[in-house]
């Protein structure tokens, strides 16, 4: 009897992991995959000498110290900015802008891309418009956006939206359009409706290219974030960068740049994690 109940308990525990257990497990997977590459021995053998050189060269006077802040100065400046100019508020502002622009862009570009890839009728009507608008470099939109939206949040969000929209749109479209007709045929014989084809075949086949588009979108979105914040508003990393230029605070600039680099890296890692979770079938190939 006791053995029996024990196995049953075991089974229960295996099958119904609490939600927080799942969260912890997934977080640790994410952490291993992302930060794992940073603390790996291979990477450290490169980064430690670089840091030492970076610290040593300005101190030894090989390069002028006024132009190249050492890592230790950068770290101190970061600490200082965190406490004295409320860096976190600037960061939250930037994050909010980026999140809104990014989400709106993906939420519009993805469905449009899917529809254009799926249907020739829709493609013929919409694609030329986007093909003409897309080559306009997003920064070229800044003046007109400022005139229409004024300086502030809507203008910034719109600029970020522009950066993210086209890469997601075109990569989704391309991926959907190139769906292997064999798969479509085999689903059609069994009676799949067009809607089922989209949700069960097209989107999965295009997944890799959609995620690729989102990654490019993240990179371009960050570019537009900095540009948007430099042109308007009094918060955000871009604003801090511009302000640091006014006062010739190179150490602050370096902090801002490193933070941008970190944010970009982090978001890409998130996308990799999502890809890992969605494209399980590619593992072990």
């Amino acid at each position: 009897m006791p053995a029996d109940t024990l196995t049953q308990n075991d089974r229960l525990q295996q099958h119904q992991a609490r939600w927080w257990q799942v969260v912890v497990r997934e977080l640790s997977v994410f952490g291993r995959n992302s930060f794992g590459s940073i603390v790996s021995v291979e990477f450290l053998t490169v980064v430690v000498p670089v840091l030492i050189l970076w610290e040593a060269l300005p101190r030894l006077g090989v390069v002028p110290q006024t132009l190249v802040p050492t890592p230790s100065t950068v770290a101190l400046t970061f600490w200082d900015m965190l406490h004295n100019i409320r860096l976190s508020e600037h960061l939250i502002g930037s994050a909010l802008r980026f999140a809104i622009g990014f989400i709106v862009a993906v939420a519009t570009a993805f469905p449009i891309g899917v529809l254009m890839g799926w249907n020739l009728f829709i493609r013929k009507h919409c694609l030329p418009v986007f093909q003409i608008l897309a080559p306009i470099p997003p920064p070229a939109w800044v003046p007109i956006t400022i005139i229409i939206f004024g300086v502030g949040m809507p203008m910034q969000v719109f600029l970020i939206f522009l950066g993210v929209f086209y890469p997601v749109l075109f990569n989704t479209y391309q991926g959907i359009k190139e769906t292997d007709p064999r798969y479509l045929a085999s689903a059609r014989v069994f009676g799949a409706s067009e809607f089922t084809l989209i949700t069960r075949i097209y989107i999965w086949h295009a997944l890799g290219s959609v995620i690729m588009g989102v990654k490019i979108g993240i990179a371009l979105g960050l570019v537009m974030l900095v540009i948007a914040e430099m042109y308007g508003g009094r918060t955000g990393i871009g604003y801090l960068l511009l302000e640091a230029k006014e006062y010739f605070q190179i150490d602050r600039m370096v902090v801002c740049m490193l933070m941008l680099g970190f944010i970009g890296w982090f978001l890409i890692e998130v996308m990799k994690y999502i890809e890992l979770k969605l494209a399980v079938w590619r593992i072990g190939r």
């Binding site: 249907n119 798969y183 045929a185 689903a187 009676g191 999965w204 079938w281 190939r285």
Partner: protein
Amino acid sequence: MIEARRISKFFSVINEDRSAEGFTVLNSVSLSIESGSFVSLLGPTGCGKSTFLEILAGLQAPSDGEVWIDGNLVLEPLPSTRKEMEEYKRKYRFLSPIANSLFRDNPKHDIAMIFQDYAVFPWMTVRQNVHFTLKLRGVAKADRPDLAARYLRMVGLVGSENKYPSQLSGGMRQRLALARALSVEPKIILMDEPFAAVDALTRERLQEDLLHLWRETKKTIVLVTHDVDEAVYLSDEVVVFSPLPGSIRNKVSVDIPRPRRRSSVEIREIKERLLAMYRFDTVHEADYII
């Protein structure tokens, strides 16, 4: 009853000098297949057997001719005149003619097909693949696991249900395609070399299972194969295609009572006849090209 009436298929191919040229793959193929019969299509490689099968299933529109299944037209043929072409284009400007309805999963005909390259979905596990096709056929959710398990057992894929196709061997993928097609229990099964990638013993077992299934449920089976033995052993009628452009070279009915023995004299005789036909075709290939 499947009736193919004077099916022709042309593809346009681009020449080296960028000019387009018509290329005949099927030349006026007429074939009627009684309900409940087992018909094999035999022919040299590249003669248009797969194309013919896809036309039967309504996945490609014939350039000329019609396919009727139980009195229903499968696909209307491609237009030939410019005026018809414009009308055709207008009619199908939004959805292609081979598409099913927009939102409702509903097969046009009670057909299942096994593709030469399997076309199992790589993003679904073995079980999900079978469940998905069952769902498309409107099988109730409660019945799906049983059906799936039965047919996966039949093809010997027990224990691999949670693997993805990329983790399967070629033969296993082919058996998955077989299970997927059989599990929906269609009236008509079109098979494009379904046993090509499995070993000889498994092939024999699967053939027996297929025969058993066919006898019990009286399905119509159309089997494309390169294996003359297989064609003669399994089918009521063997249809031999000529080399390109594919047309029906000959029909040989196999009137050997079932159950048959694989090594019986009658089977060997028919096989010899078929092989002789093949040989003749290869030797006199020039005659056909003219």
